[in-house]
C-alpha cells in the first residue's frame, strides 16, 4: 500500500496531467503549457508550505503544555522528573547572545565603515572576500574554533559562557558587516560632500551625518543578525555546555542556553522521560517566539526610525 506521501504525489501528478490535457484540447499547446506551469508553481508552493506548517503546528501543539509561569520562574536546579523550568537557560541565552552582540556589533559596524568610507585596494578586497567566506562558516566549526582557541589557555574540557559568545560572534559579525555595509552605501554621497564642504573632518562626518542616516537600517540588520544566532545549538553545545543551575557568570562554569536546553531535555529527558520531552517542546516554542519578537522588533525599528524621504 502506498504511503500518504506517495498518494499525494500521485494526486498532484494527476492534477498536472489533467490540467494540461484539458487546456490542450480547449485552447491549444501554448495556453496548455502556461496553465500547467501555473498549476505546478502553485503546487510547489503548497508542497513547501506543508512541512513548514506541520513544523509550526507541532511546536505549537506540543509546546503550549508547559508554557506556564514556572517555565520562566524556575531552573532545573534540584528538579527531578516533572516541573522545573528554563529560567537559567533563557537568561543564559540572553547573556551569551548579548555578549556576542557586544563583540560583533562594534567590530561589524567599524568594518563596514572601513569598507564603505576608507577601504581601497587589496586589503579592502581581501576583507570583503573574507567576510563572504565567514558567512559560510558552518556553526559547528565556529564552536570548534572557540574550543580550540580557549583550550590553549584553560586546558581540555573548558566550557563557559563567554566561549559561546565568541563562537556566536564569529557567526554574527559577517552578517552585521553585510547589513551595515548595504545601509551605509545607501547614504547619498551628497550628504557627505556637503559636510566636507563645511569643513567637518571625515570622522565627525561619519559619526554625525552618515551613521544617523543609516542608523535605522543598521539596527534592523543587527536585530536580524541576533535572531539568526540566538537559535544556534551546535557551537554552544561544544563550548558553553549545559548546566541545570542558574549561572550568571559568563567567565566561569557551564552556562545553559535555550537551544541547548531544548536539545538536552530531548536527548536526556530524565525519569519519567515525558516531562523532559514536554520541556524540550516548550523551549522550542519559546525560542520561536523570541525569534518572532526580534523579527517584529526589526520591522518596527526600520519603520519608526526610517528618515523621512529615504524610503
Amino acid at each position: 500500500m502506498p504511503g500518504p506521501i506517495t498518494t499525494a504525489a500521485l494526486v498532484g501528478l494527476v492534477a498536472v496531467v489533467l490540467t494540461y490535457v484539458v487546456t490542450r484540447i480547449r485552447s491549444g499547446r501554448r495556453r496548455a503549457t502556461d496553465r500547467t506551469v501555473t498549476v505546478i508553481v502553485a503546487l510547489a508552493f503548497l508542497l513547501a508550505l506543508l512541512p513548514l506548517t506541520s513544523l509550526l503546528w507541532t511546536v505549537l501543539s506540543r509546546g503550549t503544555g508547559r508554557l506556564d509561569l514556572d517555565f520562566f520562574a524556575l531552573t532545573m536546579r534540584n528538579i527531578v522528573g516533572e516541573g522545573g523550568g528554563a529560567r537559567h537557560a533563557i537568561l543564559g541565552t540572553l547573556i551569551v547572545t548579548g555578549l556576542a552582540s557586544l563583540i560583533s556589533v562594534p567590530v561589524g559596524l567599524l568594518t563596514s565603515i572601513y569598507l564603505v568610507e576608507y577601504g581601497r585596494g587589496r586589503l579592502a578586497r581581501a576583507v570583503t572576500f573574507l567576510v563572504d567566506v565567514m558567512t559560510g562558516i558552518p556553526s559547528i566549526v565556529a564552536g570548534l574554533f572557540a574550543y580550540a582557541f580557549f583550550v590553549i589557555f584553560f586546558g581540555p574540557g573548558i566550557r563557559f559562557g563567554l566561549g559561546g559568545a565568541v563562537a556566536l560572534s564569529v557567526l554574527m559579525t559577517p552578517v552585521v558587516v553585510r547589513a551595515s555595509e548595504e545601509m551605509l552605501k545607501l547614504v547619498p554621497a551628497e550628504l557627505r560632500e556637503a559636510s566636507y564642504a563645511l569643513g567637518v573632518p571625515k570622522w565627525r562626518t561619519i559619526l554625525k551625518v552618515v551613521l544617523p542616516v543609516a542608523a535605522a537600517g543598521i539596527a534592523t540588520g543587527t536585530t536580524l543578525a541576533i535572531a539568526r544566532v540566538i537559535g544556534e545549538t551546535a557551537p554552544l553545545l561544544l563550548i558553553a555546555g549545559y548546566a541545570s543551575s542558574l549561572n550568571l557568570d559568563p567567565l566561569e562554569g557551564r552556562m545553559a542556553t535555550l537551544p541547548v536546553y531544548a536539545f538536552y531535555s530531548f536527548t536526556q529527558p530524565g525519569v519519567p522521560p515525558q516531562a523532559g520531552i514536554d520541556r524540550a517542546w516548550t523551549a522550542a516554542l519559546v525560542l520561536i517566539l523570541i525569534v518572532l519578537l526580534l523579527n517584529l522588533a526589526a520591522r518596527l525599528i526600520s519603520r519608526m526610525f526610517a528618515p523621512k524621504g529615504m524610503r
Binding site: 536546579r77 527531578v80 548579548g98 562594534p106 536527548t267 525519569v271 522588533a297
Partner: protein, 361 residues
C-alpha cells in the same frame, strides 16, 4: 548598538525578577544549615547524571550552604580532569586500571585513589513487537541478533527460547548507540563474556557492528525502538518506558531485569585483586548461572582521593559520598534514575572506604 543595549537592558531588568524567584526552586522550606558549607566540583559519566542530579538535590537541600557541581563531560573526561586535579571527584563508567592508578593519584597529595561502585544501573534490552509482551532471549541469541546473524523474528533459535510464542515473520531491526557510551561498553562486555563464540568483538564504548539502526543517547535508542516495529535495542532501564523488555537467559532460566537482581550480581561478583584499600573495583561475572542475578548492568564508579589539601573539601566529599551510599541516597537514585540500590554488604565496605578520606592541613 541599540539592540545590544536592549539586550543588556533585558538582562539587567530580569535580574531583580530572578532574585524574587531564586528561592522558589529550593523547594524545601525545611532546609537547614548543618554547619557544612563550601563548594565541591565533580565531573564525568553522563550515565550517572540523572542520579547525580538527584543526589545533589538531596544533599543541597539538607545542607543549604553547600553547592556541589557535577559536570557530565563523559567518563573519560571525568577521569582526565580528576587526574589533572581539575575536579574533586569524578564519576566514571569504568574504574582506573591498576597501571593508571599512579598517574591518577597525583592530585591526592600522597593519598590513594578511592573507587566506589555507587551507581549500579540495569541495562534493559527492549523490543517492539506487536502482540508480544514477554520475550526470552539467551545470551547466544542476543549476540546473534546484535551481530546481525539472526535477521528475522521467526528465526528458529528465537523460537527455541520462547516455546509456544507466535513470532511474526518480520525483519529484526537492531538498534545501537551511535555515540561513544558506557552503556555500549557494558553491553558489549556482557555479550563478549556470556557468548564469546557468537560475539567475536571486543568490549568497546563504540558500537562495533556496522549496519544497524543507530541513535544518539539512551532516549534516541528508546525512540527508535518505539518508532520501528520489529526493533530491538539496549538502553538504560530507567528510560525504556512502556516498551517490551527481554528476559535474559541466565543458566537454564530467564531473568527479567529488576533492580534487586542487578544489585545481586554486583554484590556476588568478586573484587578485582591487587587493589589497595578503598579501591573497590568489581569484576562482574557476566556469565553467572545464578537465576537471582541480572547480568547486564552498568557499574559506574565515584572516584575520590583519600587525601585532600583542603580539609573543607575533604569533609564535603566524604559527607556527600556518604549520603550517596546511604540507604536514602540509593533510594533517591533508584526512584529518579532507576538504578539498583547497593546491597548491604557492599555498602559497609564503601562506608569504610569513605572513612579513609582526610584533609592534610
Amino acid at each position: 548598538m541599540r539592540t545590544a543595549r536592549i539586550a543588556a537592558a533585558l538582562v539587567a531588568a530580569s535580574l531583580p525578577l530572578t532574585a524574587c524567584y531564586s528561592d522558589a526552586n529550593q523547594g524545601n522550606a525545611g532546609a537547614v544549615s548543618t554547619g557544612l558549607s563550601g563548594q565541591v566540583a565533580g565531573a564525568g559519566s553522563s550515565a550517572q547524571s540523572a542520579a547525580m542530579q538527584a543526589w545533589i538535590a538531596g544533599f543541597q537541600s539538607a545542607n543549604s550552604e553547600v553547592t556541589i557541581n557535577y559536570d557530565p563531560v563523559g567518563s573519560g573526561g571525568g577521569r582526565d580532569q580528576f587526574a589533572e586535579g581539575g575536579v574533586d571527584f569524578a564519576g566514571s563508567d569504568r574504574a582506573f586500571e591498576r597501571e593508571e592508578l599512579a598517574e591518577a593519584a597525583k592530585p591526592c597529595k600522597g593519598g590513594s585513589v578511592l573507587q566506589l561502585p555507587l551507581y549500579v544501573s540495569p541495562i534493559a534490552v527492549a523490543f517492539n513487537l506487536e502482540g508480544v509482551d514477554e520475550l526470552n532471549l539467551s545470551a547466544k541469541v542476543l549476540a546473534g541478533i546484535f551481530d546481525q546473524k539472526i535477521r528475522r523474528w521467526d528465526d528458529r533459535s528465537i523460537a527455541a527460547d520462547n516455546p509456544g510464542l507466535d513470532l511474526p515473520d518480520l525483519e529484526i531491526t537492531p538498534v545501537n548507540r551511535q555515540d561513544d557510551s558506557g552503556t555500549t561498553e557494558n553491553f558489549t562486555d556482557y555479550l563478549h563474556a556470556a557468548a564469546p563464540e557468537q560475539w567475536p568483538h571486543e568490549p568497546d564504548g563504540v558500537w562495533p557492528v556496522p549496519g544497524g539502526e543507530a541513535a544518539n543517547g539512551n532516549s534516541g535508542v528508546v525512540q527508535a525502538i518505539a518508532a520501528g516495529e520489529g526493533a530491538i535495542g539496549y538502553a538504560d532501564a530507567s528510560q525504556v518506558g512502556g516498551l517490551g523488555i527481554v528476559s535474559v537467559g541466565v543458566g537454564d532460566g530467564f531473568v527479567p531485569y529488576s533492580p534487586e537482581a542487578a544489585a545481586a550480581i554486583v554484590e556476588a561478583s568478586p573484587r578485582e585483586s591487587g587493589r589497595g584499600p578503598g579501591d573497590l573495583v568489581v569484576e562482574l561475572e557476566r556469565d553467572t548461572t545464578d537465576s537471582g542475578q541480572y547480568p547486564i548492568v552498568l557499574v559506574s564508579y565515584s572516584i575520590a582521593c583519600s587525601r585532600y589539601d583542603d580539609p573543607v573539601v575533604a569533609e564535603l566529599v566524604a559527607a556527600f559520598l556518604s549520603y550517596v551510599a546511604s540507604e536514602q541516597g540509593q533510594a533517591v537514585a533508584a526512584q529518579t534514575a532507576g538504578s539498583a540500590p547497593l546491597a548491604p554488604g557492599l555498602r559497609s565496605d564503601v562506608l569504610e572506604a569513605i572513612a579513609l578520606i582526610e584533609g592534610t592541613a
